[in-house]
Symmetry: C2
Subunit: 107 residues, 2 copies
């Protein structure tokens, strides 16, 4: 008897990893925790992420329902991304990751 399902369809860990387990998603969530930010702003905060991947990850997060995208039809265009309630529910993960990471940076 398995109390812990392992397949993607039923395993919570797998599901969570699929949603935010990529290289940059957690850092994006972390940077958005204190309010909505523009695409360029995020790019500035995460200089090492490529333009392509940034847009792609943001799109994924929006599709997953963790972010909301606000597009303003101005010139030049302005776009802002914001955590949804679902996105906020991921913050404990960010917190525990940060805590754990700090612990191991010190050591």
């Amino acid at each position: 008897m398995n109390t812990i399902p392992r397949d993607t369809a039923h395993c919570p860990v797998r599901k969570a990893m699929n949603l935010i387990g990529s290289k940059w998603k957690v850092l994006l969530l972390e940077n958005l925790r204190d309010g909505r930010k523009r695409d360029g702003e995020l790019k500035r905060l995460l200089p090492d992420i490529s333009e392509k991947v940034l847009i792609q990850e943001l799109k994924d997060l929006v599709a997953s329902g963790l972010l909301t995208k606000h597009a303003y039809p101005e010139i030049p265009p302005r776009v802002e991304y914001e955590l949804t309630d679902s996105g906020q529910q991921a913050l404990p993960i960010v917190d525990s990751l940060v805590a754990f990471g700090k612990q191991h940076l010190a050591a």
Copy 2:
């Protein structure tokens, strides 16, 4: 001014991801939370992981100081893996991932 360093050497999130961000490590920690287990036992609990990767991940976790390996010089050989204190400190991450994952499996 960046309050959040992003490079692997100083970013807590990155550090944490490097330690347990692979496909199976979190699931291994989860399965070891209730006590030490043998290699074959873990293999049985995680049928989809390949032998090679299982050993490799366990070796990584031991090298990272999250697991302890107990080898008994018996025939046939017996090996047990156990969470260290550092490993236990990763459990909040597992918990928050599970909580978040469950939330999104329901939806």
